[in-house]
């Protein structure tokens, strides 16, 4: 049996505050990265069985 998939813990205190601050301050994904993500998705979904 492989190691079980770890549960996502509840965030408290400073961890929770840091997480919420990060939600408000978005990472700027470049147009090139966004285009690559979309192109990879489209290439793969075209071959998918679902």
């Amino acid at each position: 049996m492989a190691r079980p998939i770890k549960e996502t813990p509840i965030l408290y205190g400073e961890d929770a505050r840091r997480f919420e601050a990060r939600m408000k301050e978005r990472r700027r994904v470049s147009p090139e990265e966004r285009a690559r993500i979309k192109a990879n998705y489209e290439a793969l979904i075209a071959t998918a069985n679902f």
């Binding site: 492989a2 998939i5 965030l11 993500i37 990879n40 793969l44 979904i45 071959t47 998918a48 069985n49």
Partner: protein
């Protein structure tokens, strides 16, 4: 083989309830054990669904796999679990919990014969956009239970550690905010 050739020769396939991967080696015994033995159990129990990236002509050639399950990221307005437990024994605390829907990558592995071809990044890109393009029930974050030696790969792909509690553990929890993909 180039990235372009891979996309022509391989397909993404959702593993059925009774389907089993017979051969796969990503160089990590635990990760191999998951796809060869445990993936089927997770599927049967409806705990996770496994997707394989497989050769169209020869389905025994599995280039990579990942498994997904529902997840959430929850925050509580307390400094730590002990303070929360003391409080919750006395009061109804429902209003103090915030939860955000997420999808979890439980495991992701690339066969040693296919390493260095950006397949891992390709699959992560697929997962990110899959939940943006076809977000059926609401999903804000992708979380991952990443093996310690794969953490740099996830950081490079925009994931952030959830906290530092698991910094010395064999796996770490990281997340990616799908809102980062919105145009600004």
């Amino acid at each position: 083989m180039t990235e372009k050739e891979i996309k022509v020769q391989y397909k993404i396939y959702k593993l059925g309830e009774n389907e089993k991967v017979e051969s796969f080696d990503c160089g990590d015994a635990d990760l191999n054990d998951f796809i060869l033995n445990d993936a089927l159990l997770y599927r049967k129990e409806k705990l996770a669904v496994t997707y394989i990236y497989v050769n169209k002509q020869d389905e025994t050639k599995v280039a990579a796999f990942f498994c997904l399950s529902n997840d959430r990221i929850s925050l509580k307005d307390f400094e730590n679990k002990t303070k929360y437990n003391k409080f919750s024994r006395r009061f109804n605390n429902r209003k103090r919990l915030k939860s955000y829907p997420a999808a979890k990558i439980g495991r992701l592995g690339v066969d040693v014969s296919m390493k260095g071809l950006n397949i891992g990044t390709m699959l992560l890109d697929f997962i990110k956009h899959y939940f943006v393009a076809d977000n059926k029930t609401g999903c804000r974050f992708i979380t991952v239970d990443a093996y310690a030696d794969a953490v740099p790969f996830y950081l490079k792909n925009g994931f952030i550690p959830l906290n530092d509690d698991d910094i010395d553990e064999p796996t770490r929890l990281l997340y990616f905010d799908l809102n980062d993909l919105d145009e600004y």
